[in-house]
Symmetry: C2
Subunit: 244 residues, 2 copies
DNA sequence: GAAGTTTTGTAATAAATGTTACTTATTAAG
DNA sequence: CTTAATAAGTAACATTTATTACAAAACTTC
């Protein structure tokens, strides 16, 4: 009997990463898992895609799940699927030759990664790294379908164009941040952004992690965070930042 | 008799800018002017668009010319036309609230400004400034046509997608430059880029202009250029940099 | 709860970039 | 040719960010 024939089996979240002790395996039925995914697909995308397309995505797409910090797509990895984000958040990072990282933007549920669009179009490899910011679920669409839909489905075409536009704006914002803002402003904006994204005043992160996202050093971040605390903008504790 | 009825009249380059003494008015016939534009359209775009589309562009598009340093599109300006670059080069700049500029990328003949695509799609205003880097000619397509073609012409659709991809890559490169490179590297890359673009080893520019493109101060550029000269990478004179 | 590990705090210093102020060179205009 | 305007050179200093080094605090593990 294969896993597929069994109505109840363990869905192991994030098969492509090592599980850490605190990461609990959930015992759910495969059908429940798929139902949840489809539910999310309808919820997040039914106002974007027409009925027929939703049905086709449901039929063709495969659902993948990732836990926090999983690498979803890495740099230079060839892309055969377009991901639609059903739940969670994904951060899109750039890396230089020396391994320095920089956060470019976040993806939220109901969005796609435009980078993967450009890669799939040009049959090239990923230029960015996508990392799960929270536990996340995706529905993956094979490139062939994506191409076909682009030529025969208007709602898909509009979705792609709107995605490009959103991402373009975010890239411009990333450029503005780097070119015109000092590190303290960049950090504060980063904190506010995180708070919005997680709809919680409390950010769970180490100074080191933040330093990597902003491509600076841990000491710089600690220094600035302490300064923010003195200005009563935030409250610091180990692994935790509360934005006031 | 209006200008249009006259077979020979002065085409004033860059009607939207003040002419400087050295800028010569060319006396050419209107029909020659249009013929040249159409010739360029065929030359630069016939391998991109199908025959029918070229014909339609020829019929619908209006040709505009700009001289060096003309502002073609400014920030917050509403966009009703998509420009296709027939000849010359255009630089795309970003500006912050304090008026600081930053060069994002250059456009070459045969390309379009993807920014204007995103703006036209969303019926929003320009987020960037486009400045003629050389004397340039454009063919302008009204937004309505652009929309229609997107839905019924595959070569146009592919052109748009490829434009997005090119521009995306260039935005990523701009981000890399800002995030990972020091000013000396950024400046050297800028010089090399200019040399390639103008297919000439000699760059005609003031240190102040370069400083603005890279969003730094004139003194910093002068210092670094002098350093490059000492390293025999370039040769400096007033308003001129020769790359060796 | 002792020992080890991880995270944060902080000072001292270095390097990169930005600013000010002034001089010198080059070109343009009369 | 002289004067004025513009561009470039340069020194001194300020600010921002990066680096190094180490100590203190907060958690983990046994």
């Amino acid at each position: 009997m294969t896993a597929c024939d069994c109505p109840n089996f363990y869905i192991v979240f994030a098969l492509n990463s090592l599980l850490k002790p605190h990461q609990i395996l959930l015992q759910i039925s495969k059908s429940l898992f798929l139902t949840m995914g489809k539910e999310l697909l309808h919820q997040k995308f039914s106002h974007i895609f027409d009925k027929d397309l939703i049905d086709e995505i449901e039929k063709i797409g495969t659902i993948s799940t990732f836990i926090k910090n999983d690498i979803i797509i890495d740099i230079d990895q060839p892309l055969q699927y377009i991901p639609l984000l059903l739940s969670g958040n994904i951060k899109i990072l750039r890396e230089d030759n020396d391994g320095n990282e920089l956060l470019i933007y976040f993806l939220e549920a109901g969005e796609t990664c435009t980078m993967s669009l450009t890669c799939c179009m040009g049959a090239s490899r990923s230029k960015i790294r996508a990392v799960a910011e929270k536990d996340s679920s995706l529905i993956m669409i094979p490139v062939q379908n994506m191409h076909a839909w682009f030529h025969n489905n208007e709602s898909w075409r509009n979705f792609i164009l709107e995605s490009y536009q959103t991402r373009f704006d975010e890239m411009l914002e990333a450029i503005d941040n780097l070119a015109f803002m000092k590190m303290d402003e960049r950090l504060y904006k980063y904190l506010i952004n995180k708070v919005k994204l997680h709809t919680s005043k409390t950010i769970i992160a180490k100074h080191q992690d933040i330093a990597e996202d902003l491509h600076t050093s841990r000491v710089v971040i600690s220094r600035l965070l302490k300064q923010f605390e003195n200005e009563n903008k935030i409250k610091l504790s180990r692994n935790k930042i509360e934005v006031l």
